[in-house]
């Protein structure tokens, strides 16, 4: 910034009014992709997810295989035969999903805590298309990383358990469960993103998402009675996880796809609320 360099003279044309706010949605997708890939938190959250998911699944599978003939291991045998993916995905994805929750929330709260939201809204004053582009780009990234991770977990763990029990994609419900796990993790990211957009503070949003995923369900399940059992069954992630099971278990209120539908409904309602508030609140 030595001598003031003047830019060339501007185009003194009339100001043009916008057509539909959805015109140029492709540009918004591209910009959101640049945004999400250019911050370190994205890389760290996704790396954490992959390492925790693959690492813990491998560990658990190794322990089960090693202790196969040890006394007291029978519940795992039975479970592996009736609902193999629940065992395979249980530990690794159950823990790894928290990284997806964190990233989903941060994708939107970091715009508020850093003030980037103002720069973003100056560029794209129509807030609903901006939120939609953000959700689409994040969901796509989440889907791809989840697909790679879920298949990796499936093939690694089944290989470890191979000498004791054979689990393949062709067995009834297994492929559905694997696809279901990927879809569950994708919608989970959007669920966290919506909560992030509603709360707008990183710490608060992460606390609420994590509480919803791992604190509330066990608390509700402590309440005795069938009503509490139904409430528990309809909680967002409790319902959502059902689609990653090979078959409906006794005590499940909903079937796999029903549960996933309930989870999608929760997420959709939160996203709509998020958009509604985004348009009405001062940025």
């Amino acid at each position: 910034m030595t001598a003031a360099e003047a830019p060339s003279a501007p185009r003194l044309t009339a100001v043009t009014p916008a057509g539909s706010p959805w015109l140029g949605f492709g540009r918004l997708l591209r910009a959101e992709w640049t945004k999400i890939r250019s911050v370190p938190s994205t890389v760290w959250s996704l790396l954490t997810f992959v390492i925790v998911a693959v690492g813990f699944s491998t560990l658990i599978a190794t322990v089960i295989a090693h202790d196969w003939n040890a006394p007291g291991n029978h519940p795992n045998h039975a479970k592996l035969l009736t609902d193999p993916t629940a065992v395979i995905f249980g530990a690794g994805l159950g823990l790894g999903q928290l990284a997806i929750c964190v990233l989903g929330a941060i994708v939107i709260t970091s715009e508020y805590t850093s003030g980037t939201i103002r720069a973003s809204l100056l560029a794209v004053p129509n807030r609903i298309p901006m939120l939609t582009a953000k959700a689409v780009v994040f969901a796509a990234l989440d889907f791809v990383v989840s697909a790679i991770t879920v298949f990796a977990v499936f093939f690694i763990t089944t290989a470890i358990l191979h000498s004791h029990v054979s689990i393949t994609l062709s067995q009834p419900g297994v492929t559905r469960a694997v696809i279901g796990a990927i879809l569950y993790l994708t919608v989970l990211g959007l669920f966290a993103l919506a909560i992030g957009g509603l709360i707008r503070h990183t710490a608060g949003a992460i606390a609420v998402v994590i509480a919803t995923v791992i604190v509330v369900p066990p608390l509700v399940s402590l309440i005795p009675g069938t009503i509490a059992n139904h409430i528990h069954g309809y909680l967002p992630t409790v319902a959502g996880e059902l689609v990653a099971q090979t078959s409906q278990q006794s005590g499940d209120v909903l079937s796999g796809w029903q549960g996933f539908g309930v989870f999608c409904l929760w997420t959709a309602v939160l996203l709509v609320a998020c958009g509604w508030l985004l348009v009405r609140r001062d940025a």
């Binding site: 501007p10 916008a18 850093s114």
Partner: protein
């Protein structure tokens, strides 16, 4: 309705935060081809007004338009309006170039334009560094680069010289004048009258969200600058009565070490000298003074300073001004 493309127009803008009125039925027009200063004490509503023009905040009533359109109606807003906000609007983990790149992509602006504006503000060398490590001055420059990204017709700059060193301040000044010279609209806010007096061709002055003055800088200075005369004498005797008898006013009077100082308004210095001679009053000093622009501004906005007492605000502002110089 066809309006001149670069005209900013605020009509009866009103914004309340809870029961506090930030902007109160504010109307003004900003014309292209000149630098328009937006002046007011801290908390006068300058930033809020700019945010209302930019569609970041929603007014309770009134409208703000650019070339006859609201900000939301602009097709590719960054190619019409470039804005530098007072509050930070950068992700600390993102590089300067990526910040500009995503903004360019939203408008369909080619990526090389990001490099061009980085050159323009002298940040090319740190283009790929994370902005979290930038100084306030570098952050301001990146903000200017973002404002220039779409080669806009209209520039809204909220306190652009904040945090800049003297060289940076001079750069921003020259830059704004060049942009206005090209026929662009430059609307720049500041709480420093001295800064505006050398930068702006036209002034819009607000206090407590209301319009106080709307005129060329020259008119504003002439209208607001009050002449006074400092008179120092060991014994004023009847001088005070003579002055008031001739239509003058004693603005202030105090004594120190046997010398009385009078500040007189409404009478020229030669006339006061004649009066003193006629009454045989000894004068040690007779000095005509022009109130500084900053003082004039302070007087004008004294009633509208939002926080604290005026004297304290005045002192604070002087210190701030000194540090800017």
């Amino acid at each position: 309705m066809a309006e001149a493309p670069g005209v900013i127009e605020a009509k009866e803008l009103t914004k309340r935060f809870g029961d506090k009125v930030a902007v109160d039925h504010l109307s003004f027009t900003v014309e292209p081809g000149r630098v328009t200063g937006f002046l007011g004490p801290n908390g006068a509503g300058k930033s809020t007004t700019m945010r209302l023009i930019l569609g970041l905040d929603r007014p309770q009533s009134g409208t703000a338009t650019i070339g006859g359109l609201t900000y939301h109606q602009l097709a590719r807003p960054l190619q019409t309006v470039g804005a530098l906000l007072e509050s930070r609007s950068l992700h600390p983990g993102r590089s300067a170039r990526n910040h500009l790149l995503y903004l360019a992509e939203t408008q369909g602006i080619p990526a090389r334009r990001a490099d061009e504006v980085l050159d323009l503000v002298g940040l090319r060398a740190v283009a790929r560094k994370r902005v979290g490590g930038f100084s306030l001055g570098m952050t301001q420059r990146l903000g200017m680069a973002a404002a220039m990204l779409g080669d806009p017709l209209v520039l809204l700059l909220d306190e652009p010289v904040n945090g800049l060193d003297p060289e940076g301040i001079r750069w921003v000044r020259t830059f704004m004048q060049q942009l206005a010279g090209q026929g662009r609209t430059v609307f720049v806010s500041s709480h420093l009258m001295s800064e505006m007096s050398v930068t702006a061709d036209y002034l819009i002055v607000i206090g407590r969200g209301r319009l106080i003055a709307d005129s060329t800088t020259q008119e504003f200075i002439q209208r607001s600058s009050e002449r006074s005369v400092l008179v120092r004498t060991p014994d004023p005797g009847p001088l005070g009565e003579l002055i008031t008898g001739q239509g003058g006013t004693i603005a202030s009077q105090d004594s120190l070490d046997g010398v009385t100082s009078l500040v007189v308004t409404g009478l020229p210095a030669p006339r006061i000298g004649e009066l003193a001679a006629s009454a045989s009053v000894v004068l040690y000093e007779l000095t005509p003074r022009l109130a500084s622009l900053e003082e004039a501004f302070m007087e004008l906005t004294a009633d509208s300073v939002e926080y604290g007492d005026t004297a304290k605000a005045r002192q604070g502002r002087r210190q701030e001004e000194r540090s800017v110089r």
